[in-house]
Symmetry: D2
Subunit: 306 residues, 4 copies
Amino acid sequence: MNWQFILESVYADVKPVLGEGRVADYIPALATADPGAFGMSAVMLNGDCFSVGASDTRFSIQSISKVFSLALALRNAGDTLWDDVGHEPSGTTFNSIVQLERENGRPRNPFINAGALVVTDSIISQYGRDRALQEILAFIDKAAGSAGVSVNKTVAASEETWGDRNRSLAYFMKSFGTLKNLPTDVLNTYFHQCAIEMTTASMAHAGLFLANDGIDPISGSRFATHEQVNRINALMLTCGHYDMSGDFACRVGLPGKSGVGGGILAVAPGKGVIAVWSPALNQAGNSHAGTLALEFFSDRADLNLF
Amino acid sequence: MNWQFILESVYADVKPVLGEGRVADYIPALATADPGAFGMSAVMLNGDCFSVGASDTRFSIQSISKVFSLALALRNAGDTLWDDVGHEPSGTTFNSIVQLERENGRPRNPFINAGALVVTDSIISQYGRDRALQEILAFIDKAAGSAGVSVNKTVAASEETWGDRNRSLAYFMKSFGTLKNLPTDVLNTYFHQCAIEMTTASMAHAGLFLANDGIDPISGSRFATHEQVNRINALMLTCGHYDMSGDFACRVGLPGKSGVGGGILAVAPGKGVIAVWSPALNQAGNSHAGTLALEFFSDRADLNLF
Amino acid sequence: MNWQFILESVYADVKPVLGEGRVADYIPALATADPGAFGMSAVMLNGDCFSVGASDTRFSIQSISKVFSLALALRNAGDTLWDDVGHEPSGTTFNSIVQLERENGRPRNPFINAGALVVTDSIISQYGRDRALQEILAFIDKAAGSAGVSVNKTVAASEETWGDRNRSLAYFMKSFGTLKNLPTDVLNTYFHQCAIEMTTASMAHAGLFLANDGIDPISGSRFATHEQVNRINALMLTCGHYDMSGDFACRVGLPGKSGVGGGILAVAPGKGVIAVWSPALNQAGNSHAGTLALEFFSDRADLNLF
Amino acid sequence: MNWQFILESVYADVKPVLGEGRVADYIPALATADPGAFGMSAVMLNGDCFSVGASDTRFSIQSISKVFSLALALRNAGDTLWDDVGHEPSGTTFNSIVQLERENGRPRNPFINAGALVVTDSIISQYGRDRALQEILAFIDKAAGSAGVSVNKTVAASEETWGDRNRSLAYFMKSFGTLKNLPTDVLNTYFHQCAIEMTTASMAHAGLFLANDGIDPISGSRFATHEQVNRINALMLTCGHYDMSGDFACRVGLPGKSGVGGGILAVAPGKGVIAVWSPALNQAGNSHAGTLALEFFSDRADLNLF
């Protein structure tokens, strides 16, 4: 069925719930987002791009950045990355430190905060602290077809101001030797990486290599190997939505990664990518309308993997 | 590519590792299995069945029974089943009780032991304690095309003798009201259900409805709804291999469920089902050669979902 | 100062709070206790006994029985008892199973439920399942000067009916080999031991050997060695009030053991013993008025060890 | 019995075990201590001071400083201090963060590292970050009779270099609002406080107010109220030796606080204070010979509270 038609039907059907839930307020810079905003884009492997709503509005991608930093770190470090971070669901909340103490400072997977810090640490080991952020940005921007991805400095500053829990995770892992660089450098890069802004249109394009075995079908550039893509998608499916990953897998049936900014990136391997944004979150911290929209889209476009 | 040809190439390639690992010894009745045994069967949606090795040898399906009891319980109880058991990865070992205490006696998912006891409890609520086992057997036998599925009474007795950890889980949940029936009845049915024996050939057939939206394409019988199949497969992918579910998802990329008897059932939605058996286990308690064989098969038959 | 005078002043001062809090309702047989009831007795080493209130009313001693079963088990097993149970505070609630899983089925101390089951198990190993309860009763009765201690069969039956959490603890430890006897036998003895009834007057006498290096100064009988008494008192001080042991130590400054029946036994080494009973409990499950009365008594009789 | 005579007999009896165990090596500055060193001092309420061994050698008091900082913080903040730190045993290791996550960033007691950081934070709130250390030093020095207490800057620098686990605890609590001041300021004061050096002779004098209801009997100065002393001693008894507090209570029967520098301070209320130092530690991180010496001394001088 025509994806534009599906997008429009989905948009119509989620309109009644827009604004339900709560905008993230753990940092003031996110708390001002419009809870009723909604944008959604879908890109097919042939490059056709479809959108509805505020698909050209930039939003804070937050934890969705972890997908791209993971791809970049894997490209450089290869499987040695898994020495310092696992690839199993954690069964705990995104910022839990309990699992770290039980398992000697090695985070369960790259999508909980502790694991994402390990990934960023690996990127700093490769490029140095001064270039790391710029390389992450360049990676995403190239994947998005040079869409002009940028960092929102107000959000980055707010992350820094309210970043004590992440600092705690970083120093905890440093005490076990999991982090190789200075926690302050890792955190600085991480806070900025979380503050990257994109539109759903550019995000959908940026994720396209994950639906196409590592190659962006539009530019022809390779961003990851076949095996790396398999692993990244498997991790998104098992761990991409924190403590509701199982629920997302059951309802949407696609690898997906959410961010507290209200964005979700979903990958339909061999078919395309969908990006959605709506800032009001459900209790687990995932976009309420965004999750529902993906459930509808996956069902109507027959994308559910299961 | 021809699945029989792939099976044979896989069999040749795993032969060198047959016997590596340890046969389950938590109950004496399993400890006598031949660590070097190996059987594998694959069934396509059109009913074509292919096999290599000891595909007609009966083995103890153990935790793989949880997939079928879940399907049976869902058919009867519908979504009310999720009131008493979650659908999220647990992040802990299969017999952990820690998560239960933290979350008021509600197990994380139906594939950890505690969750499977809840599923069995639901079946007893439907059929009574005297018929529950027989209904589970009948369900599996029908799904397998009347293959003559049976319970190994020696294994069941051994489960009972060494079942104190499961008793502890059952009484713990009873104290929270999660179980509705007598723990002794739930445990008795559960111990027997774990002692069911099948061949890889019959198991592959039995799982076929999971690859075909709930309908066995050979008999035409419906065993589950489309939505239930989506959920069961999603659960197998996220939780089917205990603390190595993420690893299995990364390497094989298919919904799968393992048992300590050395069996693994893997589902390729829309394509077919593969069952493998080899009793020597890796550290996480999953068949060592079986996992490797599925990794090879998934890769060569291009079944990886990601 | 004269202890009778102090008892009367304490009684007068706690009267306004009698009935505040909640009577234990985890078993129906306890839920009918009068929340405003109060009895208190103090015995000096010279045998002088003082009382106020309902000091001749029998109440369910519940967990206070753990002190006497520990003394009996130590007399028989000596320090080998500590192979299966520790002597450290647990930092968790009385019926927590989390600590057991973390520490391979060995409970932290003899006063949490799991630890008390180990103690009872040791007594069964010594006397057999048929005599164990009778020996515990005989030990307490002799310590109390043949006061006619008895088991309330209604309470014992209620413990049994609502004993699933304790069953879970017992089977959990059995799976680790911590318990040597059948969990059903250990539980049966334990449920009856918790249902023992005494008056505050007889309980104060029964505890006197703990204030006198192991010898009841009235009868001259030895119930424990000097070293055993030191250890039992140290355990009461550090672990006798579950998650409020530190608070009791700060406020009362004496080794003490509480029970959910509303009783508390407090030992003033070298001076005497105080027993109090008032069924309304505070949030931590300790007698509200009883704790306050002991705080007043300890202060006014200058008994605080610190 | 004459305390000097007892000290000498104790010294003779522990000589065979001197050097058994391991010197703390978590920071390089402590790893160079002589494992066979031993000093011990005992002061009676009348001011008589007795010593054996290296009682005039300065050693790093480490966690024993937590007793004095607690007394100072209580003097200023009173019972409001307990809003941010509990007074219950933790059941976990000294640097565990698990309990903090379970209980919303409020540490269990002032003697685990997290709790001690809260105490130091309270002192900074009172005096400011620039004066806090100096006030702690002045408090201890005055309690010790102006013994010239000092900070070892090499040890303080080493604490700082290897302080990532403590940084993690501090930022964790900051994220919950438990700490009121900058974590860097709290940590800086804390690292220096741990690096304070004293002799056993001056430490025994410094603790004397804890044996005398808050007043140093030599100088007549009051350092704490009666109630505060009761609480500090109760905390030392229940929580003073981390995960071996129960063992110390059983064996020594006195409030005590150990440090990884090999020192232990023990209080005999109404009688006197004993300080011992020997750097080789047992598995729980407490002085091996020091604990044994206190067990002998407590027994021979009949000081065991129980």
